[in-house]
Symmetry: C2
């Protein structure tokens, strides 16, 4: 658990609410600091300074600097998953859902570079996310695997697309595009620059790698 063990979250407890608000505030400040100074520029002292408090007070809310990273990671992971899930749900199952989900993911990651780096670049080697903080990523993998299976079932891709290998290929394409965009064109939103527009084209190569049976296909 990232947060210091709280007392019983009794209903109607005003103390607990205030505490929770402070925790939110700390995390929001931490996100600001990471955005401005880089993921590694986060420090308890700086957060305390911006909160108008002395550094030791922060430790009433978080056990350590790493605990703050962990909370940021866990939240980032959760909201990123949610973004992707809803984008996929809005589209036709199969390739459409995959493309929509990945585009939404990319858009969100480029808009929240600090969190994105924390989630996928591990820029703080001493920080190892908790297994529970990693849990949403398992679900994300499941969603993408399902989309590939749907695409295969719908005849958009060959049967070989319903495989772990196809999943790995997809993750390579996506992480490549997003990584290059974040590293070389920071600040540019999704859809601009040299790299993010390549994703649809690259997803198209899935059809080259796993060609569907050339029977009649839905337009």
């Amino acid at each position: 658990m990232a947060e210091v063990t709280a007392p019983a979250p009794a209903p109607g407890d005003r103390r607990a609410r205030r505490r929770q608000e402070t925790i939110e505030e700390i995390l929001a400040i931490a996100d600001d600091v990471m955005t401005e100074e880089g993921v590694n520029g986060l420090s308890v002292s700086e957060v305390a300074r911006r909160l108008g408090v002395k550094p030791p007070s922060i430790y009433k809310y978080f056990d350590s600097l790493l605990a703050i990273y962990d909370a940021l990671f866990e939240r980032g992971q959760r909201t990123h998953l949610e973004i992707m899930r809803t984008a996929m749900a809005r589209a036709e199952p199969g390739l459409d859902a995959l493309a929509a989900g990945l585009a939404a993911s990319g858009r969100w990651l480029l808009a929240h570079p600090a969190t994105g780096q924390l989630l996928f670049w591990r820029p703080v080697p001493s920080f190892q996310p908790t297994s529970e903080a990693m849990a949403p990523s398992v679900e994300m993998v499941r969603l993408q695997r399902q989309a590939l299976a749907d695409a295969a079932a719908a005849g958009q891709l060959g049967a070989g697309a319903d495989s772990d290998e196809a999943l790995w290929v997809t993750s390579v394409l996506v992480s490549g595009v997003i990584g290059q965009a974040m590293a070389n064109e920071p600040g540019l939103p999704w859809g601009e620059g040299r790299f993010s527009p390549l994703l649809p084209k690259l997803l198209g190569t899935l059809a080259a790698l796993y060609p569907p049976k050339p029977s009649r296909r839905r337009s």
Copy 2:
């Protein structure tokens, strides 16, 4: 310049040789430290400890911690370029050279993860490589661009492959594969694991994206 300004490198100067040896030793230790503690775990104090010296003495050889990073970056960049260049030169110009160069690059990067991360992940946000330290990377881009042009000229790929876009696609594929391998399967050498064996297959999709004219082609 990373190193503190040295006296005239007069020939036969024994002092200069000793100094140079110490610089080498410091950089070797720094590489060890990064490998063990993560790129960010590098510290002047730790290097001094391992060299059997007090921290301030290090500053006789390097202006700052960042100067050490810069020297490591510059060397890494140079040897990485050399690895790639010789691998490409040994192969047939065109797709073969591209594949051979990228495979050699991947092999070297996975074998030297600390340097690899320093070169391509920027895990030390406060560290911005000197423009001269970046110079080899310009040359690397040129090599890859040339290989694509050769492939197009040889009819292995369509004319569209002789383009910046194809170069970007290539960089996405490569950085995706290497990034996933380094992040998810650290310690595994090139050719093992889930990701690095995908590179040839992915390079094959270049032919799908930039199809050659279907005239007679060299076997």
